[in-house]
Symmetry: C2
Subunit: 322 residues, 2 copies
Amino acid sequence: MDKYLITGFSGFVGKHFLDLLELKGEAAIAMGVDLFPPNFEYQKNRNIQCEFMRLDLLESNAVQSVLSKFKPDYLLHLASYSSVSFSWKNPVLSFQNNANIFLNILEAIQIYNLPTRILSVGSSEVYGDIKTENIPIIEEQSLNPKSPYAVARISQELLSKIFTDGYGLDIVLTRSFNHIGPGQREIFAVPSFAKQIVEGHMRGEKSITLRAGDLNITRDFLDVRDVVKAYYVLLKQGRKGEIYNICSGRGVSLIEILTLMERTMDVRCVISKDPKLLRPVDNAIIIGSNAKLKKETGWNPEISLEQSINDILMDGKFKQNK
Amino acid sequence: MDKYLITGFSGFVGKHFLDLLELKGEAAIAMGVDLFPPNFEYQKNRNIQCEFMRLDLLESNAVQSVLSKFKPDYLLHLASYSSVSFSWKNPVLSFQNNANIFLNILEAIQIYNLPTRILSVGSSEVYGDIKTENIPIIEEQSLNPKSPYAVARISQELLSKIFTDGYGLDIVLTRSFNHIGPGQREIFAVPSFAKQIVEGHMRGEKSITLRAGDLNITRDFLDVRDVVKAYYVLLKQGRKGEIYNICSGRGVSLIEILTLMERTMDVRCVISKDPKLLRPVDNAIIIGSNAKLKKETGWNPEISLEQSINDILMDGKFKQNK
């Protein structure tokens, strides 16, 4: 019976990974750890055996205790302070909660000589400034980090390499691009749009005023359910020490997403530009290449953008109706 | 009156930098901080005003308190857990005491908006594995870190870049190669040889058994008194955001150093190979290029290898006679 330890369990991705394990019908034991308990059901109505434990990954003794007792076969490292803007305001906290937490995990696995395969979930932010000719971005692209957050993510990658080469740890790495899907917090653009549109719709409005930043930026959005499938397949088949982009391979502008939402909900939006949502140094276009992941694992994204948007809106409606 | 804050003050380099400030005859105030007080005189018989304060750079509140009160014009960041082998045994401690301590300093300077020019002293270890055709190593060489220590040093560099570009901090960076000179701890090869030879000499031996590792490795040794001159000139003239190799530009094998010592002391050594002193994955040859430093600052090394070796041996003799 395979044992999965999932850090950052209570976040957006944790629930979807648990759903996937359930779907696979594997005889598996999952243990989720996070600073705060999840706001989703992880035991009731589930066939899979799942425990949750509060854990601050900065506390190395606690990390060692949990890992040495649970002895996971697989460790999905989702935990991260993943906000770029937070990292500018609190560089020390951001750095510690990205680089140091990961290092504590690696040290625990090394000290207790655990046979754990680790998926180090990282971020496309490590690429930083990207010239148009380098799009779609491949894994060999040189790194040009532009935030304290991105530096912490690079440290995480370099430490993975050191622990793989030097201590023989079994680590596979990702650079994950933008995720979308049901359950995402509304601090991100797509769920924020969905929330505003659903609320307007519930009030019976046909023309909805929508607060937004720059709608012209193009990003590579992948549905979280396709993301967790990629994580699963990499845990099982990824090559030790290798880095894989996790992305859809195509660019979608925020204006396209908004248009899809308008059509689905049969409303029109009037944009109210919010200067607070504008980032001065953002890349206009970020698109990743998923060729390596596809070629090596056979993974393919299965959820269309239309379905993602529909499910996000339905999820928003459901929340409003509760 | 210029104020210098020197972290890692009690180490090998701190005393020599203070000596240099004294020599310059500048009206300067120096404050040294370290975990432990220095074992050299920093007040008595000195014209320069110098204070010492115990400080753990991991304690961000204490760092902020010291920096905001002292408001240094120049900060020489010598503090580091600089042992590669320690970083393999204690990766978390090593990483924290290299990357996190530096980040605490940067955050304090940013929060209090101090006009401090920082010299981020780093390490040639960031280059890692180097092919022979890339010797002498220039600053543009791609990095290939091979230890947790080297990863922490790369984090330090990347954070410097982020804080220079993003917050406007004034940081100059070094990649320092091997130092030698009077006062170095005997855990390093050159002072260890000197100690063994001086001790044998004091016992009246003409043939001295010397414990050593691989004597064929070639390194770029720079006298610490030339190192601190480079640090001084970079604090004054280095370009913000730039990285400079600190090195002699020439390679010397350990066997050459040993031969010099034998000649100076008129003894012969019989080598007793100590497997504990052999590092399995060491580069055979490391030589840096100091062309950038020379060109931009006019700095030139002034102390010959013969003089370095002589002074190290005399320093050892002095210690034995005390």
